[in-house]
């Protein structure tokens, strides 16, 4: 049975539902960056980037640290393991379901041939 009531799955999938936030994760996968650097790279205002980083931080995907006047962002400890596992199990269900439907269709065809 697939589990579907995990709040952290909600937060992580919501965080991933925005192209800029996915881009930020990819960027931080290559090197840590300040909010200012991220805002520049993604052609956003500081305020806009702060919001995106806040969503990623809430989901545990990014950690930030303020040193002096600079807030540095790095990848958080969550490695999207549960999200990968949910999607993988869903894909198995999906495949099994369409295999079932194929079998039903084959059965119908065979019976039609026998009766025809």
């Amino acid at each position: 049975m697939v589990q579907h009531s995990s709040p952290h799955l909600n937060a992580a999938f919501a965080a991933l539902s925005d192209a800029t936030r996915r881009g930020v994760l990819e960027q931080l996968g290559r090197a840590d960056a300040s909010i200012t650097e991220l805002a520049d790279r993604f052609h956003m205002t500081l305020t806009g980037m702060k919001k995106h980083v806040g969503v990623l931080e809430q989901a545990g995907l990014v950690q930030t640290e303020k040193i002096g006047r600079v807030r540095t962002c790095r990848l958080g400890s969550r490695r999207l393991e549960d999200e990968a596992a949910w999607i993988e199990r869903y894909r198995q269900l999906w495949t099994a379901r369409f295999d079932d439907l194929d079998a039903v269709l084959e059965d119908v065809k065979r019976k039609e041939k026998t009766n025809g």
Copy 2:
């Protein structure tokens, strides 16, 4: 380079960010169901379930068909392949990034020993 500007990734991840919608996908992975059956199973109003199914339909994850007065839902043609691929690539980036940091730390420790 990981791609991050796909609108269908946005829609699919947003659809997955709700526990009820994930539950509906799992349920339809076992058997087709009417909106009424889904509403009953998830203890929701018909209106609430229609909205959730609408979001899943927009994301290509569910197909619906109205026959007479009953709207039947089944899994859509999208198998979350791109979503699985995005997460997998991210996990590789994540692992490489933390391996890099480990290497840097080891290097610092080694130098401290040599100098100490």
